[in-house]
Symmetry: C2
Subunit: 339 residues, 2 copies
Amino acid sequence: MKVLLKHFVTGKATESDMEVVATEAVELKVPEGTKDAIVLKNLYLSCDPYMRGRMTKHDTPSYVPDFTPGEVIIGYGVSKVVDSTHPDYKAGELVWGMTGWEEYSLISNPQNFFKINHPEIPLSHYTGILGMPGFTAYVGFHEIAAPKKGEYVFVSAAAGAVGQLVGQFAKLMGCYVVGSAGSDEKVELLKNKFGFDDAFNYKKESDLNQALQRFFLEGIDIYFENVGGATLEAVLQNMRLHGRIAACGMISQYNLVEPEGIRNLFQVVAKRIRMEGFLVFDHFANYYKFEEMTVQYIKEGKITYVEDIAEGLENAPSALIGLFEGRNVGKQVVVVSRE
Amino acid sequence: MKVLLKHFVTGKATESDMEVVATEAVELKVPEGTKDAIVLKNLYLSCDPYMRGRMTKHDTPSYVPDFTPGEVIIGYGVSKVVDSTHPDYKAGELVWGMTGWEEYSLISNPQNFFKINHPEIPLSHYTGILGMPGFTAYVGFHEIAAPKKGEYVFVSAAAGAVGQLVGQFAKLMGCYVVGSAGSDEKVELLKNKFGFDDAFNYKKESDLNQALQRFFLEGIDIYFENVGGATLEAVLQNMRLHGRIAACGMISQYNLVEPEGIRNLFQVVAKRIRMEGFLVFDHFANYYKFEEMTVQYIKEGKITYVEDIAEGLENAPSALIGLFEGRNVGKQVVVVSRE
């Protein structure tokens, strides 16, 4: 079984833009004579917002290549090496990296695959807290936003894979942190499970500017940007002098043909704001350091983590589309196989 | 004679929002019993884009206070101290700082006034290349944009007080630099006097995105932002990976009631752009170092500088409004008195 992109998407992506098809019996060996390749058994697949961008045809190359219509969807996943002709990998090893939305994937010249050094942690965590989203939260908060103890931090999409960790890293730093999310259930989670100082349901706020004024009487020092659009505009209005915006993603804009305009960028000048985009790919050299630190936090119970698990590859399209509708509560994972 | 703001302005500012009125004979002494005050004879006044913001009533305080309707306009100027009860100033000294649009100003508790250490340079230069705009160009380019030799630099409002210097600092650093301006006369100046590698008249370009593609085949590493709006949107589309935007001002937006929206901020993420606002006030501690360096450049003929001089305080309102209509060629100065 595998999941294909049927065609390039303009505007709102739906499940019917993807197709789940049966596959022939799969060869579990690297084809004879093929060097530097691996065959992976895919265990857990990651649904991430940036994947929407790959469904659109770009005239000039984007930061990740467009998907190819008619071919399998590509994304981060946790996999077991079942065969290898590459000197760095051997059968039986667990890895995470870019794989296919299918049961088995043949990867030629594997790059940016990471060894899973702590299989005692649930393996699915390597699609989230110990994978790309977790490392994204770490890089964006600690390296881009450069927080100081006592600062005021706002996180949007705060119950998502990245947001929930940003909030917890902020608390571990001694910051005051407020999150926004799109349901009361998520708001409860933020306040009662992830330890945010406060949280609100943005869908219930008629005026985001006023909402932020209510939660940040002194203004915002650090904004961890996951959503863009109206939230970004309201945040700019509420930033403090010398505030920092770590721009991780803008999920509210990904399904729009014409993104919304942000009208108050002059605040960047008036308040001497630093707004900086980042992508985790640029920082992978530090990944294993992050893995050790975060495994330690998990074992000491200092970090909590919530996953939203979809069972079976056939449910992957719906799980991915659910991200853009805010259906997931916590990190959206698809289980292909538990071992 | 003095120039007053008649009333707060919404939308487009015009000369009739200001009024030139006669003044009574002025006392050239600090009033008896007043400590820490100076009386200045104003020589040269500076017309700067940020002054438009002070003409608008702000509900929440802006980075500079609003002007007071019915009172004298305040701005940077070059002045001679004619009397002082402040220990740091004495009669006869030349200074630059925030003074009034009038012949003589009484300043209580003078702050951020700088001594003019090089009166052998034309004094009017201390409203520009050696004053706030020059220091702004230096801070924004060298400290905020952090240029490297060989990088591609774009400067908007490039023939203005700040832009002309940014381009020359960029050339001194070994960068490739292109400027935009609003008339063919200014474009000629950029190419033939200030040594820009290339320049274009933005009013003659129907598509700014295509214009930038034409001038920057490899994309833009550094954008020195003076104008905002459609130019910023086109620049974001043409930035290179890890590009930097030093956000100095957004003059195209200052006369709009509702600023234009910037729709492609996702480029900040995709290209890992750092966009950073700055104000020269935060950096004044380094001013005298800048003064020495720039005086040296001027004496060695390494920097060229163009002023647009309006004669007489009565012409100050028209000179200020001219900035927003792009009438000035070079730094707009008003001469009140030559000595």
